[in-house]
Symmetry: C3
Subunit: 138 residues, 3 copies
Amino acid sequence: MAERMSLVLFSGTVDKLMAASILATGAAAMGMEVDVFLTTWGIEAFRKDAYKTNRRVSSDYADYAPVMLEAMAAKKAPSWMENLLGARDIGAVHIAACSMTMELFNLKLDDLESIVDEVTGVATFIERARESKITLFI
Amino acid sequence: MAERMSLVLFSGTVDKLMAASILATGAAAMGMEVDVFLTTWGIEAFRKDAYKTNRRVSSDYADYAPVMLEAMAAKKAPSWMENLLGARDIGAVHIAACSMTMELFNLKLDDLESIVDEVTGVATFIERARESKITLFI
Amino acid sequence: MAERMSLVLFSGTVDKLMAASILATGAAAMGMEVDVFLTTWGIEAFRKDAYKTNRRVSSDYADYAPVMLEAMAAKKAPSWMENLLGARDIGAVHIAACSMTMELFNLKLDDLESIVDEVTGVATFIERARESKITLFI
């Protein structure tokens, strides 16, 4: 059985999404399964088409946001969404959205990007997370 | 021996406290022990009566805060404190406050909500965290 | 082989750096190896001399920042950098900077504080993280 990395993706800012996507890519490249559990602002970030206009950066570093976004554009760095799609191409990346948040925000699976596999409860995530080698809340 | 989930609860915003309480509830429901180590703003959030008026939301999503708080009220979603109390009813949930932060903020155990079990050092948390199946910094 | 704690240090605010340094100190004191992987704002925080003037605090608690910084000064609490240097004195603390972020920000190892050991890719971090007892994203 492949080793697993389980991420709770709570944040919806580009800098944290980028970090999550790089960790997912790295883990997939090493043959690990990757489970991503979207909740709260992580779900907002995966609303259909939202990634195309999302330029939100951690407000702790709001003053650096323009510099970072420009550097990413200048270097033609792949977006976090491209990273995630790439990670899925090379490995097993599973993305689920938290059912409680979905209900709170009146959302259905169809409202999210197609890279999201399903809507599940927290118990399903925990059952798999406790068999994971790496667990992170982002 | 029951499997364990260990959370460092650094944040004091309602959205992250809600995520922590849902993870704690899910883990307790699956028979896991839950250790919560409060530090910094996590301790502020557990000051006596603070939860009754705390409407702080991650500043990354300050513009969505009113929408989220209204949705939670409209859906009559249980508060994070109610979730934690419920998790304790069904399982083993242990909440400790970081002794270094308590000293820094001139706080005593009596200054916190009674759901906080004790004040401990970081070594005690780590000793138990390293035997945990899931470790998260929230 | 010593047990290991692996931290992804994404944040660059003094309050989170302090939490990371205290966790590192606690783990080192218990004989654990500590791996720190700096990325994004975590790298900014380790730029040469940056720690001497960094007074950034989580914007979620911007209103409490002056109180916390004054309390830390009044109590003569060691800085997060002093904690990390102390942790290294008593144990095995390894600090690496994410090569992708370094390239994005046009940085070289020489631009960072000497406590940073090397620049590595995410795969190297994950390879060690998956053998860790504690994994946290800060």
